[in-house]
Structures are given as structure tokens and as C-alpha cells.
């Protein structure tokens, strides 16, 4: 065999992917292939993953442009008008809550905030597929899980304001909620670390012969972390009862999703190497999210193992209050996003069903705003970041261990508490 002569080849060069447009350019999403609503098939939950590989490359959609719910995923949805109205209310609540908290951050009542703008359907709808006792391992952009689970807004605000009623006792960054009772695991603040923990929770349920399932959450950018891949291999090997959720909102701070995705085409396709059924869904379609979440939860409950879901959506706001997206993407990009606004789409569906109207919508908005404003007044009266009542500084030393060891006790005394 001859040794190859490298000089016969042209020099190598490094590929560094770039988004189609940067600030100053015209947003163009014509390359995003969007199937018509209702056209993607709904397989049985015990389908062989090999037979649905194509579902990782399409987009499952239910709500069409006329506001109708169409196709097999819609037909499988067992949903009442009351459920639909409640779903809309959850999303509206989350959006108004976000707007109020963003404003509170600008007024320095809190140090930091992260909003959900454009992504409300995903967490609000997903929660409706879970049962009490199931556990989410969320990221910082899934507060809709709490709202849809009935967690009090006042508790959320107290956490944002780090006041004396903050259930996290002022220890955590704002938006890092936790409520075991509401199936919401404590948010770490680090990325991807909890994706594998969700798999462990599901494995524990199976080891214990229990009936609970878990849900893992991650963003498009964080799927690059090793913990994401660890979660997929554990979930695959042990057929853990877990729903693995990837929220692809196109942007990881300033980094477009192509950097994390590489050459695989979609994030859902990551599941194929692990033999995990993998679906891609319209994340701005409340009913599509709910339908796919129920399908995946059903698989988990029937001991059929994990499901990977990619929600295709768009982060319409900044990454956080520390971020200004106009520095790295065109300002008009969010309005050019082709999947529309999740609240508007569900609203139009309810109007098409004849159970909702613009007037009732405006009235509901006013009611929700009044309620949130009232709750906010009460929370602010307790305290905000720099004013009012806060947890005692002595509390800083609690919960490091179940029992405070002597060296910490000594430090607490030295600190004067």
C-alpha cells in the first residue's frame, strides 16, 4: 500500500457556521420548511423508533392559519372548551407577569429577570400532560409549568424580589424557583446539569415500582453540553420513563442554533443515535405541544421508555435583562418568525370555535393585569431587593448541611448572627 502524499491535496480550512443574517440585514426564514398544519401522521405510542425517523425532521402542527385544529394530533386531543380557555389564560398570565417583572427589574426592585416572550405555549401546555407527583427538571425559561400547575404568583414574585417571604430565602438568583409540591425541581442556574438528573428521577420511579414520570428540559445551545449526551445514553439504556424536552428558540445568548446543532439537521435527530423516538413540534402551537407532550407522557407511563421532543420556537426577547439582542441579530427578526405568536394563535382558535372574542380577550387581559398588579403591590409591600423585609442574614448559614457543623456555627457567630 502506498503512503498518501498530503501535498496532492489542497490545504485544509476551518468551517465556522454563521447565521443567515446579522444586524443591518433582512431577516429571511424562507429556508425553514414548515409543513401545513395537520399533515404529519400520529403513530401509535409503541411504535418502533426506526419507523418514525422522519418525525425528527418535520414539524408537527395542529393549528392552521384559519385558527382551526386539524389532523390526527388534534383528533387525539381530548380537550374541553374550559381546558382551552384555561390554557389561554395561563399563557396570558405568564406574558403579563413577565412584562411586570421586567419593568420591576428596570426599577431596580430585583437584580435580574428572564422573560418567555414567544415561548409561552411550551411550558404552559406541557404541564397539562403531567399528573401530580410527576417531576419537571426545568431551565430558567419554563415558569409556565408553575403557572399551569397552580403555583401562586405571589410566591413567584416574592422569589423575584428576594423578600422575607421568598420560598428560596433569598439564596437564589431571581427566576430560579423551586416547588417540589408542584413538580418543579429546584433550578440550578448552570446549564444542562439537570437534564441527566431528570433521567435519574425517572429511573428511581422505575426501580421503586412507582407510577411517576419525569420531564427533562434544555435549550438548543445547551444540548452541546456533555450532560445532554449523558442523559440520552442513560435514558436509552434503561428505558427511563422520562420526556426529554429541547426548546429550540434559535438563540443561545448571541450564538445562533447552528453552532450547537452542527451537521445533524435538527436537534430532534440527536435522539436517533440512541434509538430514542424523536419528534419535532411547532412550539408556538399550544395544541401541538399539548398533543405531543401527551403522546410522550403516555409512552413513559406505559414503560415504553424515553421520548425526545424538539420545540421549534423563537426567543423574541433578550436572553436576560443583561442582554441586548440588537447587537447580534436584526431587530425585525422576531416579527419575521414564521410560526407566529402562541397567544394570538390560540386566541384565534377560540374565536373560530365561537367561545371567545376580541372583547372578551381584552377584558381577560385587563382582569389578569389587575390581579397581577394587586399581587405585586402586596409582594412589594413585603420587600424588594433593596427595600423592606428580607430573610435574616443568619439564614445564609442554614441548609448547607442538615446539621450545622461546628466550623459553620463558629463562622455564623463571627458574622454576628
Amino acid at each position: 500500500m502506498e503512503t498518501p502524499d498530503p501535498n496532492e491535496y489542497p490545504p485544509l480550512s476551518l468551517a465556522v457556521p454563521e447565521p443567515e443574517v446579522r444586524p443591518g440585514g433582512q431577516p429571511d426564514f424562507s429556508h425553514v420548511a414548515i409543513p401545513r398544519a395537520g399533515t404529519v401522521r400520529r403513530p401509535p405510542v409503541d411504535v418502533d423508533p426506526e419507523e418514525i425517523r422522519d418525525l425528527a425532521f418535520t414539524i408537527i402542527r395542529v393549528l392552521n392559519r384559519e385558527g382551526q385544529a386539524v389532523g390526527p394530533w388534534a383528533e387525539a386531543l381530548d380537550i374541553t372548551p374550559e381546558d382551552l380557555l384555561e390554557g389561554l389564560r395561563h399563557m396570558m398570565t405568564l406574558r403579563i407577569y413577565d412584562a411586570r417583572m421586567l419593568n420591576a427589574q428596570r426599577q431596580q426592585k430585583t437584580s435580574f429577570y428572564m422573560q418567555h416572550l414567544g415561548e409561552e405555549a411550551i411550558s404552559c401546555a406541557f404541564q397539562r400532560a403531567l399528573a401530580p407527583g410527576d417531576m419537571n427538571f426545568p431551565t430558567y425559561r419554563q415558569a409556565g409549568l408553575l403557572i399551569a400547575a397552580g403555583y401562586p404568583l405571589s410566591a413567584m414574585m416574592n422569589q423575584i424580589f428576594s423578600n422575607s417571604e421568598d420560598p428560596m430565602r433569598g439564596r437564589q438568583l431571581p427566576v430560579c424557583y423551586s416547588s417540589r409540591e408542584h413538580g418543579f425541581f429546584t433550578i440550578s442556574g448552570n446549564l444542562a446539569t439537570q437534564f441527566i438528573q431528570a433521567v435519574g428521577w425517572g429511573m428511581a420511579s422505575a426501580i421503586s415500582g412507582d407510577r411517576k414520570i419525569s420531564a427533562a428540559w434544555i435549550g438548543d445551545g445547551s444540548t452541546a453540553e456533555s450532560d445532554f449526551h449523558a442523559a440520552l445514553v442513560f435514558a436509552s439504556t434503561y428505558k427511563a420513563p422520562v420526556v426529554l424536552n429541547i426548546v429550540n428558540n434559535q438563540w443561545a445568548i448571541s450564538t445562533f442554533q447552528g453552532i450547537a446543532r452542527g451537521g445533524s439537521g435538527t436537534f430532534a435527530a440527536r435522539g436517533h443515535g440512541f434509538g430514542i423516538p424523536s419528534l419535532r413540534v411547532d412550539g408556538n402551537d399550544y395544541l401541538a405541544v399539548l398533543a405531543v407532550a401527551k403522546w410522550a407522557a403516555e409512552r413513559a407511563r406505559r414503560n415504553l421508555g424515553p421520548t425526545l421532543i424538539e420545540y421549534v420556537t423563537y426567543r423574541a426577547g433578550g436572553h436576560s435583562t443583561s442582554d441586548d439582542p440588537s447587537a447580534y441579530r436584526p431587530a425585525e427578526e422576531s416579527t419575521a418568525w414564521p410560526l407566529g405568536d402562541p397567544i394570538l394563535r390560540l386566541k384565534n382558535h377560540l374565536i373560530a370555535l365561537g367561545i371567545w372574542s376580541d372583547d372578551r380577550h381584552a377584558q381577560a387581559e385587563a382582569e389578569i393585569l389587575a390581579e397581577i398588579t394587586e399581587q405585586q403591590k402586596r409582594a412589594e409591600a413585603i420587600g424588594t431587593l433593596h427595600h423592606g423585609q428580607h430573610p435574616s442574614p443568619a439564614d445564609m448559614f442554614e441548609d448547607v448541611y442538615a446539621e450545622m457543623p461546628p466550623h459553620l456555627l463558629k463562622q455564623r457567630h463571627e458574622a454576628g448572627f
Binding site: S111, G170, R171, G221, A224, S226, I253, T255, P393, M396
Partner: protein
């Protein structure tokens, strides 16, 4: 000389290094087009192209591991970990690989890489944007660890780190990015442009690794510190009335023992100060070295002031942070020991 923030000084050092040496490459999360969440790499991609300054997937182990491969090949990667708190996924690559490449290959493969990471608190960053994990790095043999306290040093130390033949951890106290911070969080912020250490020489210069600097001369006690705490120590020396000598270590490893011994032998009293948690912190190493090298000159036990041994809290940041009041009290107690 231009007045610069520490961000501008770091960017300037990278610019000088990239301009002089085509083997210097810069990468990390959000560092390319956007120029980093703290803007330390702004403009470098536009100037040097996207194969020399680029965004990476969010995988710190990948960032450091790829950097090691490039360094072993012969490039000089300067990688950014977005916050020191995000370092842990890269710890295996740092500890088992970067630090030992030279040793285990008997010098066949080396790792001339710099790992930059914003460190420390003071910005209400909570437990995942405030940590000071330097002791986890100084404990690892094969690494050098640098913590600048001002723009002028930051540029010179970063250039020295890039030119060093071994892996260097470059920790940037984020609370010092825009101005010297003495721990008085309730007072107006001072900008580097009104501080003499904000004067940064143009072009290439280095501040050698392993050389401490005296920031304040004094006779009553020696404060050994680095990073943000240098400014806290200076404030505490003024406010306590204790005539303390303040040594800015600048490099934790290699350590300037000569400067330490000379000062402690003169004052006979030593306070070790850092923002990181107390137990098994870098201050323990300093205290052990001082008692071993200066025992017969010591007039009081070596004292430590550090962050409490709790996760970095959000609301109680200023009860946690070892500010000038705590340092001043410790200085007064230190000089009262008969």
C-alpha cells in the same frame, strides 16, 4: 498612555498577541461575533477573521479539550470560560490533561494555553455567577494561576500568560472590570479612568508571572491578597488606622515568596485575605508558608479573612462578601495580640 477599563486592557492584550503571533487563537461561548458577554473579545473576529476568534458550542469540556489539542499541535489558544462558575464541566480536561501533558509525555507534547475566566462576586450574580474557585486550580500541579487587580497588570500578565510555555489559568475579577472596587457597595462607583492603574501602556509589555507587588507600605501588619480584595485591603488599612502593608500577589502560582517573607519578617503580623470560601482555600496555603518561613518573626498567629463557607448567596451578598469593615476589624485584632 491610554486610560482603559480592565475589559479594554484585556482586549488590548489579546489584540497585541494576535497581531504579533498568528498562532494565537481565541474562542469560547459568545466570544466571536458578539465579543463576549463582558465584551473582552469585541472586535477581534472582525479584525482577525472567524478562524482565529470564534463562537463555540456550549461545552466547557469541549472548549478546554479542543484548546489542549490545538496547543499540543503548536497553536496558542486563549479560551474563555464565560464565568468561572461554569468551569466544572472542564475540570477533567484541566486537571487530568492540560496540567499533565508535558509530564506524562516527557516533554513530547505541551500545552501553552491560557484559560480566561471571570471570577468573584459583587454583582448580585447568585451562586452560579459569583464563585472564586482558584484553590481548586492552585491545588493542581502543572497549572499556573494568575489574578490581576487592575487594567495595567491585566494586560501585562495576560501577555506573559500567552507567552508562557505551560497552561495558565487567568482569573478576571469581574467586579473590577469597570473600576476599582473597595467593598463599599453603597458608595458611587469609581471608574478606572480616574485611577492611575487604569493607565495602560500601548503595545507589547509583560508583567512577569510570579512577581508580587507592594500596593501600600506599612509597619504594623502585612496583608497578603489578590484581585478585588487588594482594593478592599487598601480601604481597610486606611479606615482601621492600622498601618498595614498590602501585598498584591498577582500570581498565586508561581508565588513570590521573597516579597512575602520580606514583608512579614518586617511587620511580624500577617493577615491573609480572599473572597473565596475559607476552608481549604488558597489562604490556608499562604498561612502555612508564612508560619514555616517567618515563624521566628511572627508576633501573632496568622489570621485569615475569607468568604463564609456557604454557597454564594444572592440577597445577602454584602453580608457574605468580606468587605472593609470585616477586614479592618481583623487588622485591629491582629495588632492587639501582645
Amino acid at each position: 498612555m491610554a486610560r482603559m477599563t480592565m475589559i479594554e486592557a484585556i482586549r488590548d492584550a489579546l489584540d497585541v498577541a494576535m497581531g504579533a503571533d498568528p498562532s494565537v487563537v481565541v474562542f469560547g461561548e459568545d466570544v466571536g461575533y458578539f465579543g463576549g458577554v463582558f465584551r473582552c473579545t469585541a472586535g477581534l473576529q472582525a479584525k482577525y477573521g472567524k478562524t482565529r476568534c470564534f463562537d463555540t458550542p456550549i461545552n466547557e469540556s469541549g472548549i478546554v479539550g479542543a484548546g489542549i489539542g490545538m496547543a499540543a499541535y503548536g497553536l496558542k489558544p486563549v479560551v474563555e470560560i464565560q464565568f468561572a462558575d461554569y468551569m466544572y464541566p472542564a475540570y477533567d480536561q484541566i486537571v487530568s490533561e492540560a496540567a499533565r501533558l508535558r509530564y506524562r509525555s516527557a516533554g513530547q507534547f505541551t500545552c501553552p494555553m491560557v484559560i480566561r475566566m471571570p471570577t468573584g462576586g459583587g454583582i448580585f450574580g447568585g451562586q452560579t455567577h459569583s464563585q472564586s474557585p482558584e484553590a481548586l486550580l492552585t491545588h493542581v500541579t502543572g497549572l499556573k494561576t494568575v489574578v490581576p487587580s487592575n487594567p495595567r497588570d491585566a494586560k501585562g500578565l495576560l501577555l506573559a500568560a500567552i507567552e508562557d510555555p505551560d497552561p495558565v489559568i487567568f482569573m478576571e475579577p469581574k467586579r473590577l472590570y469597570n473600576g476599582p472596587f473597595d467593598g463599599h457597595h453603597d458608595r458611587p462607583v469609581t471608574a478606572w479612568k480616574s485611577h492611575e492603574m487604569g493607565e495602560v501602556p500601548e503595545g507589547h509589555y509583560t508583567v512577569p508571572l510570579g512577581k508580587a507587588v507592594l500596593r501600600r507600605q506599612g509597619r504594623a501588619a502585612t496583608v497578603l491578597t489578590y484581585g478585588t480584595m487588594v482594593h478592599v485591603a487598601l480601604a481597610a488599612a486606611e479606615e482601621s488606622g492600622v498601618d498595614a502593608e498590602v501585598i498584591d500577589l498577582r500570581t498565586l502560582l508561581p508565588l513570590d515568596m521573597e516579597a512575602i517573607v520580606a514583608s512579614v519578617n518586617k511587620t511580624g503580623r500577617c493577615l491573609v485575605l480572599h473572597e473565596a470560601t475559607l476552608t481549604s482555600g488558597y489562604g490556608a496555603e499562604l498561612a502555612a508558608l508564612v508560619q514555616a518561613e517567618c515563624f521566628w518573626h511572627l508576633e501573632a498567629p496568622v489570621r485569615r479573612v475569607a468568604g463564609w463557607d456557604t454557597p454564594y448567596p444572592h440577597t445577602h451578598e454584602w453580608s457574605y462578601f468580606p468587605g472593609p469593615a470585616r477586614v479592618a476589624e481583623a487588622l485591629r485584632q491582629l495588632v492587639e495580640v501582645a
